[in-house]
């Protein structure tokens, strides 16, 4: 274990207390009970690895390859798929720019995603997709260079805030000669992301308003907010989606119809707003009274106090919690499969039930579980790092 074979006058520690052996002894076999645990654990791992090996060697990934487009974009019009690709490219560019501007955690995410693109490019079967993936890696680099030249974080923040709206318009179309792709055609990972991002973006202002409402000194507004938040938090998300899907149309004026995806988005927004409100309330409570009193003393009015003093600090404190909320929303988007939408989970369900893919459910489920896992794991990791950096809980 060591290269120190030279003669020294000190007695070396016994071989059993240092190095690999010492580590094993200390961490795995320190007592008879510990040894027993180790043996049981090894047996579990052995069984798991054997099972996994059996699965990996016999898996037939054809089902994923054949349906890859379905998994990614659903039934999005084939000729228009370039719009999805452009959207991804925009995000790649912004990611590269943010990598240069902020570094830290975004640098790590940037590296991971670039690496992911490279691996996918190596795995890809068609030259066109290889070129596309390589172009995305290049775009990350271009974004990096752009931020290096421009050096304006404010501009980047503005671009990030604008990006969901730009991408939404790009994907939906109807502007500047772009044909409309109805949201009912959206599916797979595209729909999953669309639901998660729209859910968090649209529910954010609503959640902030509800949080403020809950703290309001106006009893009517306060009780309305409390009632709303507590009712929504007390019922399962599926009942909200069910409501959005079948009750919402009844309340609409005659002749007005709303696409199913939009209805579900409304459900998600109404649902997430209540949870975000509680998150933001935590932030508001973390800001001392002194802040708003001082602001009042220097003559700011209520709106200025909120906008300039309280909200920026409160939201900064709860950024990790908001990321957590986004992660749980991202996982929850799978529930739209229950009300019959074809997101990633819905597509998986419909592929599994096709006769030609009989018996390939493991491959399909492992594939989509892996997609969810990678996305959630990256975000969880980012949120943990952010938490450390913002020093929440240490102030």
């Amino acid at each position: 274990m060591s290269g120190m074979a030279t003669i020294t006058d000190t007695i070396k520690p016994p071989v059993t207390s240092v190095g690999v052996l010492g580590w094993l002894r200390k961490n795995l076999f320190s007592s008879w009970f510990n040894s027993l645990l180790t043996i049981v654990a090894l047996w579990l791992i052995y069984n798991f690895v054997v099972g996994l090996w059996g699965f990996v060697t016999t898996a037939n990934w054809n089902v994923v390859i054949v349906n890859l487009r379905l998994f990614m974009v659903g039934r999005y019009t084939l000729e228009q798929v370039w719009r999805v690709q452009v959207s991804v490219a925009i995000l790649a560019f912004l990611l590269g720019a943010s990598w240069r501007a902020w570094g830290g955690i975004i640098q790590q995410i940037g590296i991971s995603i670039a690496a992911l693109f490279v691996v996918l490019a190596l795995l890809a079967f068609e030259t066109s997709s290889r070129v596309y993936l390589a172009a995305n890696v290049a775009l990350i680099a271009i974004g990096f260079g752009f931020a290096h030249l421009v050096r304006s974080r404010g501009l980047l923040v503005a671009l990030w805030i604008a990006s969901p709206f730009v991408i939404a318009i790009l994907l939906y179309g109807g502007v500047g000669g772009l044909p409309i792709v109805a949201t009912d055609l959206w599916g797979g990972l595209l729909l999953t992301f669309a639901l998660a991002v729209s859910g968090i973006v649209l529910s954010f202002p609503l959640g902030v308003l509800l949080a403020l409402g809950r703290q309001s000194s106006y009893p009517v507004i306060k009780w309305f907010s409390i009632l709303y938040i507590e009712i929504v938090r007390g019922v399962p998300l599926v009942t909200m989606l069910f409501t959005a899907q079948i009750v919402l149309p009844i309340f609409l004026p005659e002749g007005m119809t709303v696409e199913r995806v939009v209805r579900v988005m409304v459900g998600f927004t109404a649902f997430t707003a209540a949870y975000l409100a509680e998150v933001v309330r935590g932030g508001l409570q973390a800001i001392g009274r002194g802040q708003s009193e001082a602001a009042k003393a220097i003559g700011l009015n209520t709106i200025q106090i909120l906008w300039l003093i309280v909200l920026p600090q409160a939201i900064r404190v709860v950024i990790p919690a908001i990321v957590q909320q986004f992660i749980s929303l991202f996982k929850d988007t799978s529930l739209v499969a229950i009300v019959g939408l074809l997101d990633l989970a819905g597509i998986a369900n419909s592929v599994i039930s096709q006769k030609e893919f009989l018996g390939l459910q493991n491959e399909v489920l492992v594939f989509i579980a892996a997609i969810y896992f990678v996305c959630c794991y990256v975000m969880t990791y980012a949120s943990r790092r952010l938490e450390k950096r913002l020093g929440v809980g240490e102030r």
């Binding site: 961490n27 399962p236 069910f242 009844i250 369900n349």
Partner: protein, 392 residues
């Protein structure tokens, strides 16, 4: 708004700057706004509803004609709707109650494993948490149901586990205790045992007051109680044990949990257990080392330290997030519908399909789930009040 020089000498504030007036006006405006939205929606609603249905709960007494695979109370498809709804509710409660118990146990074991000095055990716990926390529950349920339980061998080739438990595509079959004629008598014996425990507790309390002996009340009450219950059970034999036996194409005897129930329960327990693992870990880590060491230095035994210092302090941190997880489990039980387990949401959807009574069905479901959530909250708040820091 900038600071305008105002005439401070005037005592009369114009009403549009009077805070008291503004407060009332703001709230009235808010109420009117909400009412306007409500009235508009209701107008649309009545216009829409007028076409096909009337608003009433009469449909609840009509024939359900809804076949349900699993029922805890006797139920036939020609029973009324409300009975079907109750069946769904009971099925949901069956999942929630057992789920909460099992998930807590798993989370406790996981949390301790996560902090184990055994490196391998700690790492297994980490991997378990990461995998189950970072994938959607629905996918896990599909996995347990479609790729797991449904793919198990037929009854004839069922997987036998120790303790006469059999896993097959018909579900999980295990020995069961059927209460027999003596069961009532045994319940009476349990009642007697409770009385005995109370008597013992009082008696030893008196003894302690006189002699200043160590406090053994809890131990003696427990011993007296369990001795009476166990001896009673041995004499009376209140249960008939039935062991599953393969007869023809199916098991006879024992109890069989359906594949659907096993999937939703396993899914919920493993998913929620992963979250509880992290909560338990955080709770135990929140107890400062120094406190444990101080307790040991004071001469408390290891068990006493655990019972009097570590656990109460850890519980104080654990209970609030644990309550949240219990609520999540209760709400997530509605995903049972994804594995075709006839829970509340499943039956509610069925009733909606049969009757088309949208608003009523949705309102009933939401109210029921709210009631369940509220019950859990109340119970957990009561538990929390017992453990929380007593402040002056």
């Amino acid at each position: 708004m900038t600071m305008e020089p105002t005439n401070r000498s005037s005592a009369v504030i114009p009403f549009w700057r009077d805070v008291r007036v503004l407060r009332v006006v703001a709230q009235v405006v808010f109420v009117i706004l909400i009412l306007l939205i409500g009235v508009t929606l209701c107008n649309n609603l009545t216009r829409g509803m007028a076409k096909f249905t009337t608003f009433s709960f009469d449909f609840l007494t009509s024939t359900a004609s809804l076949p349900l695979a699993e029922t805890t109370i006797p139920y036939e498809p020609h029973d009324p709707m409300y009975r079907a709804y109750i069946v769904g509710l009971l099925n949901t409660l069956r999942v929630i109650v057992l789920g909460i118990v099992l998930a807590s146990m798993l989370g406790l074991i996981g949390g301790i494993a996560r902090l184990s000095s055994n490196w391998l055990v700690a790492k297994i716990a980490v991997v378990y948490v990461e995998i189950f926390v970072d994938t959607p529950l629905l996918i896990q349920l599909y996995f347990w149901y479609i790729a797991g339980v449904l793919r198990l061998p037929r009854v004839r080739d069922s997987i036998a586990l120790p303790g006469d438990i059999h896993l097959s595509n018909r579900g999980l079959t295990m020995p069961w205790y059927d209460p027999n004629a003596n069961f009532g008598t045994w319940l009476a014996v349990i009642g007697g045992a409770v009385v005995l425990a109370i008597v013992l507790s009082i008696a030893f309390g008196k003894l302690r007051q006189r002699t200043l002996a160590r406090d053994w009340r809890a131990l003696w009450s427990f011993l007296g109680f369990s001795a009476m219950v166990v001896i009673g059970a041995n004499i009376l034999n209140p249960f008939t044990v039935t062991v599953p036996e393969l007869k023809g194409f199916n098991f006879e005897g024992g109890i069989t949990l359906s594949p659907e129930y096993v999937s939703i329960l396993a899914g919920l327990v493993l998913y929620t257990g992963a979250f509880i693992t992290e909560i338990v870990r955080a709770g135990i880590q929140a107890v400062p080392r120094g406190l444990n060491e101080a307790a040991r230095a004071l001469g408390l035994s290891y068990v006493q330290t655990l019972r009097l210092v570590t656990v109460p302090l850890a519980l104080r941190v654990i209970i609030p997030p644990l309550t949240n997880q219990f609520l999540n489990l209760a709400k997530n039980s509605s995903l049972a519908t994804a594995v075709a387990y006839p829970d509340l949401f499943f039956v509610g959807g069925g009733i909606y399909n049969m009757t088309g009574q949208t608003i009523q069905v949705v309102a009933m479901m939401m109210a029921t789930y709210l009631l369940i959530s509220l019950t859990i909250s109340v119970i957990m708040n009561f538990v929390n009040a017992r453990f929380k820091l007593v402040e002056r």
